[in-house]
């Protein structure tokens, strides 16, 4: 009896993580080519750790084994080097990273939908799309999203689960920098009670009608008490059923997952026309009855809003009770509140800076213990505890380091 082998095999089958690493055009000039050497966004350090470390650690913590890492072809070598390097191999021993490159240039980026379509043959099971730049807080384990997906997909046929986080309120004390451009938040309509994403306000729609947001009445009929939030940001973390890819193939015109596909994916749940059209492709699980009873008692399950709330004990033949759906085709949403911990996507210079600052404030730095690194720091140098200095960095005499991150192998002063 080998207990250790079996469970790991089961977990590998469940999800495949698709990590998307792009060029990071928003992060220029940090990501612009350094001579002939490309500067991959995924490897930009946040407090001296490559950005990619954070999502990978997040994935591993939730028990994901298989990772499909997609990066631009020019970055392939350096990313591959990083993956095979000691640091990552030691920190993520259980991950099996399959690195795939796609041909694109900075100017002609391939849409995320196209990437997904292109690599669809490598995805055989339900999958999680994670961007390389999402830095999750410790208070938000991926398993929270996965568990919601697991229960809902089984219980009422949800097709995807998304993750949104509340944008922290702008800090009044921080001075606005010139290049500061806050990440644009999207307006989303969602049902709080059941955690369902109902509508995402896409840029296309804003272009169509900058004055008003049009919400389908069938949406409002099915979810009569929905929330419209303008302060949420998409973490670009999507847990999807494998069948979602089949629908994606049907929609060749979609370019961006976040701006086009996910907003569209929200519609079949209340649009019966689309439901009938795509329902069979999405083909949610039908082994419901067996698990239904168990899941009804599950604490994770919050229950669907009942369209008909019986206020009166009288049964009136005039009111039709809404037919019970076999599968909801829902898109779940997990909302991470700002009060529960800072999180952001490091996809703009501003959030990149904010994240660095955030992590600095979280840890207290102590001087390196090993003598080799220690010897390089001049004893007369002043380094405050809200700073960080990498290995084998030489810090000269009377250097004053405050609230800063210094990388490895740097020379400061003298």
């Amino acid at each position: 009896m080998d207990f250790e082998e079996t469970p790991s095999k089961i977990t590998t089958k469940e999800f495949l993580a698709v990590v998307l690493a792009g060029f990071g055009n928003e992060l220029a000039p940090l990501t612009s080519n350094n001579g002939d050497e490309p500067c991959p966004k995924a490897l930009l350090p946040i407090v001296n750790k490559p950005m990619l470390d954070y999502p990978l650690a997040w994935l591993e913590a939730s028990g994901i084994r298989d990772v499909l890492l997609i990066c631009p072809a020019p970055h392939r070598a350096s990313v591959l080097h990083y993956i095979n390097s000691d640091s990552s191999a030691s920190s993520f021993p259980s991950l099996r990273i399959d690195l795939q490159a796609f041909d694109e240039s900075e100017n002609l980026t391939v849409g995320t939908c196209q990437l997904l379509r292109h690599f669809a043959h490598r995805i055989d099971q339900d999958f999680i799309i994670v961007p390389c730049d999402f830095i999750p807080p410790p208070s938000l384990p991926l398993s929270r999203v996965l568990n919601k997906f697991r229960t809902e997909a089984t219980y009422d046929g949800a097709i995807a689960t998304t993750l949104f986080f509340e944008q922290p309120k702008p800090d009044k004390t921080s001075t606005p920098e010139e290049w500061r451009s806050g990440p644009a938040s999207t307006s989303v309509v969602w049902d709080e009670k059941s955690g369902t994403l109902l509508h995402v306000d896409t840029p296309d729609e804003i272009d169509d009608d900058p004055e008003e947001m049009a919400l389908n009445m069938s949406l409002l009929r099915r979810y009569p008490r929905s929330k419209l939030s303008a302060n949420l940001q998409d973490a670009h973390v999507y847990v999807c059923r494998r069948t979602v890819l089949d629908v994606l193939k049907e929609k060749p015109r979609f370019d961006s997952i976040r701006e086009e596909f996910i907003p569209w994916l929200c519609t079949p749940q209340y649009n019966s026309r689309k439901r009938s059209k795509y329902g069979h492709i999405l083909n949610p699980l039908h082994n419901l009855p067996s698990q239904r009873l168990a899941l009804e008692h599950c604490t994770l399950h919050t229950g669907l809003p009942s369209a008909y709330e019986p206020q009166s004990a009288l049964s009136s033949p005039m009111d039709e009770v809404a037919p019970t759906e076999t599968s909801s085709l829902r898109v779940g949403v997990v909302v991470h509140r700002a009060s529960a911990g800072y999180t952001a996507r490091a996809n703009t210079l501003q959030t990149y800076l904010e994240l660095n600052r955030h992590f600095l404030s979280q840890t207290t730095y102590a001087l390196p213990i090993d003598s080799e690194s220690r010897s390089l720091i001049d004893p007369k140098a002043q380094i405050t505890s809200d700073s960080m200095v990498g290995h084998t960095t030489k810090v000269g005499e009377r250097t004053n380091i405050k609230k800063s991150v210094i990388g490895k192998h740097c020379v400061i002063g003298n």
Binding site: M213, S218, P224, R225, K227, R273, S312
Partner: protein
Amino acid sequence: MPPKSSSSKEKDLTDEDEVLQAVILADSFNKRFKPLTSGKPRCLLPVCNATLLDWTFESLALAGVQEIFVVCRSYPELVKAAIRDSKWSKPSLGLKIVSIITSKETFTPGDAMRDIYTRGIITSDFVLVMGDLVSNIRIDEVVRVHKERRRTNKDAIMTMVVKPSGVVHRTRSKGESAIFVLDAETSECLHYEHVTGYPPKKHAKIPREILAEHPEIEIRNDLIDCGIDVCSVEVPSLFQDNFDYGDIRRDFVHGVLTSDLLMKSIHCYVAREGYAARVADTRSYDSVSKDILARWTFPLVPDDNHPGGHSYEHIRGNKYLAKGNSVVLSRTCKVGSNCLIGAGTHIADNANIQASVIGQRCTIEANVTLRNVYVFDDAHIGAGSVIEYSIVGSNVKVGEGSTVARGCLIGDDVILGKNAKLGEFERVSRRRDEGEADESDKEDEDEQSEDSELEEAEARQDSESITAIIGEGSNAIVWPKGPRADEEDLDEVERYNNQRLMRIGDPASDLPLEYEGTESDSDASERESDESDLEMHALSRISSATSTSAISTSTPGLNIHTLHDAAAYSEFQAEVTQSLDRAFAEGHSVDNAAVELKTLRMASNVPLRKVREAVVASIVERIEVVEGDAAAQRREISKMVGRWGPLIDKIGGVDPVETIEVLQYHCAKSARLPLFGQILAALYQDDIVEEDDIRAWHARPEAKGEGLKDTSFAENVKRCWLVGTKMIEQFNEQESSEEESGEEDSDEEEQPSKKPAAATAQAAVGKKEESSEEESSSGDDESGEDDSQDSEDDAPATKAATAAPSQPSKPASTPASTKESEEEESEGSEEEESEDDALAPSQPAASKPSASSTTPAVSAAPSAPPPVPAAHAPALVSSTAAPAQPSTQDEESSEEESESEASDKEPAQTAQSQAPPAVASSKQPVTAPSKAESEESEGSEDSEEEEESEDDAASRATEPVPQAQVSTPKASTETARPPATITTQTESVATIPAAVPRPRPGPDVVGGQPLRPQQAAWRRHSIHFGDKVLKSGTTTGEKARRVVTTAGRQMKKGILTILRRNEREKQSTR
């Protein structure tokens, strides 16, 4: 600081001690309960045997309201009496009830609010309710919250009470509901979206700007609007300031929330506890009654606190029997659960009563079955009757063995005969006595419309089928079912199909209520197909329902759209006829008439062809028929066509082929069939149709009358086509003969025999004249090409000389006769004399020039004579047209002319052959010179003035467009005209704006027609507006359409006033 706070608290208490006022709007402002409400106001209808007004008083009394104003409009004396006799007016209750009688002109709640404002009765925050409220909500709590909010925020002017219920709830009206967008924390109402049930609303539009200040908002589609508002004193004054506020929700709330100026806010009070609902329609009448029986309104239940003061005994199963042993129940009768039986009612053997309310002193005979029926006082239900889901008024007698299907409303005092069979959703009321009807007519004019409806109903009562419905010996009349004829004018909430959602017992399952959405914006094509599919789907559903279910036999649902369209067409047709009548009678300029038509078209959203049909029809019908005198007949035709023909091409698009077809089809239907050929010829003359167009038309299958069933009509169409055939033969002959010889003599022999050709000739002459005016007006410095042109034309120049003597009077007469308008008649009368002279020779002479004018080669002949003869020729022409022409100008003109033709010819010809806009604009000069011509006689005399503007005119005319307008073959017939003509043209620029060809085909040129800036501005407006119409048309938004129509009417009005002003100015300048 505890002392202070306690003192402030005391102060609060004293604040709240001030008298709490309430306003009851006791009128429904609609007719949903007809015919139950003919004879009494809705607020006096009994619900569970107590009037609605009593329920409302009870609800308010529960909230501690001390002073109540009852605003009543219809039957005020009844309301007053009801209040006087009720327990509420007892002094011991401490309730002060004041009834306010508002005028009959109060049509909306908004009017009532304005009335309240003018009376100045409101002193503090007050509760505003409708007179049909049943509620046990603690309104005093709402008032407290409201006042507290007011303390910190003076702009919070109103608090609406809403109750969460879920989307589908029986007391939540399907036909009329709303989406409230609230701030999650403060429950401030940020946006109010009214939702009608049918046609189903597709999208709720939420303004994005509210997100800027409220990042987290709630969209609530699950709230019942209880119709209870706590308002501050400003509210009536806001109604006063905004006189267009009608409905409290749709106008006032929406207006306040969307206003950028008011800066007021409205809040919602989401009542978690309690019950509140309005009896706004028969369906909610049913559901509220059931709710009361099921004790959801506790403590307002029949056995306790019955507002009518009755006392009932509550028996298990929610049965209520009047106390005092006055109810007589047979031993074998069955009374199911949820029933209420009033005092003094007798129920006989084997009667079965389920979920029904029976009034006082009723008699239910043996074997009667009542299911979900509301019977008012003193009714008598005959033995063996079966009634379902209906409301039976007081003192009604239903004969034995009758059947009343679901959804019927039986008015007070109706007697139904034996074995009456009321179908589903019938409404019957008592037939009034003659005298009574008159009396009520006099009594209140306001009920007029109702009366007319009644009379209409009365009028169709004689047939036997009606007797079958209501039984022998009945005094009832059956009200018409289905949508009313004036449905269009109704508010969309009150339209028939939407009202069906508010009827008792109507499941309305055949109405597609759920808009099934669209594909996302990124795949538009898919979306479109989806939408059309949906519509088809919806329609088929309705139609199938019509064919199968008896419910909707009255509802020709399928026809709604087509009927609607047909109505729009007929309305449009009528409007066009009117406006053309006006134009003809008052002698508008063609352009003014065209502007009016365009506006009409956009307002009614009809295709261009319809306009064309209307215009052609009205022109044709206005041609006077002259029997037996072909010449006179021709004169009539050319007069009419010349004056109004250009209008055909100014209605917004030019399609001569269609014009011919329309003309053909009209003539085929009309008594003026024999005139078809002549009219067509006249159109040809006036350049409205070209030879090619006639050929194109002729080749079309429609022209041959293919696919027409109606034999006589088809025959007529065929006859018209044959006329066309003849004409084309002529064209062919002309062409061939000219190719052969180029001499007019050969043609001359053939042509007099054929009328159309003669007319063609006439046209040619007319055109020659016009074109000469046009051409001469253009001065160009390029003279290099002159020589070549001249040399080319040298030889035919002699021909011009020969032709000239034969037609000297002709050119003058043709334009004058064709173009004279009534307003210019006084001036034109002189010319008319000459015209008569001219016409005599014109017919024989016509044949001659026709030969020259029809082919380009020959017609070019007289066009470019060398300078010297040219100078001569115009002299001839102009001297007849305007004898006062100063001869000194001839030289000048001849120079100009010779210069111009060179530059003109090329653009003219290319434009004609290639550019459609140029062709379109070629209609322009037809009127412009004519005006010039008619004014010439007077214009030439004040030549000083003219010479001033001469330069201007010349420079205008040099632009290529006017030249391009002159169609090629005729364009080349150039005889110089003195600039004097041009100056008169410029004069007409000043007076008749649209008649002036503007040189630049800028963005202002619409449909090939140049405009003055001012007019262009309107046009731009209307074009923009037209797009809108199209848009709304495609989505078939009824409302949009309505709005557009009214907007269109307003615009039309505006344009008319401007046009009139123009006319006035014109006269004053003269």
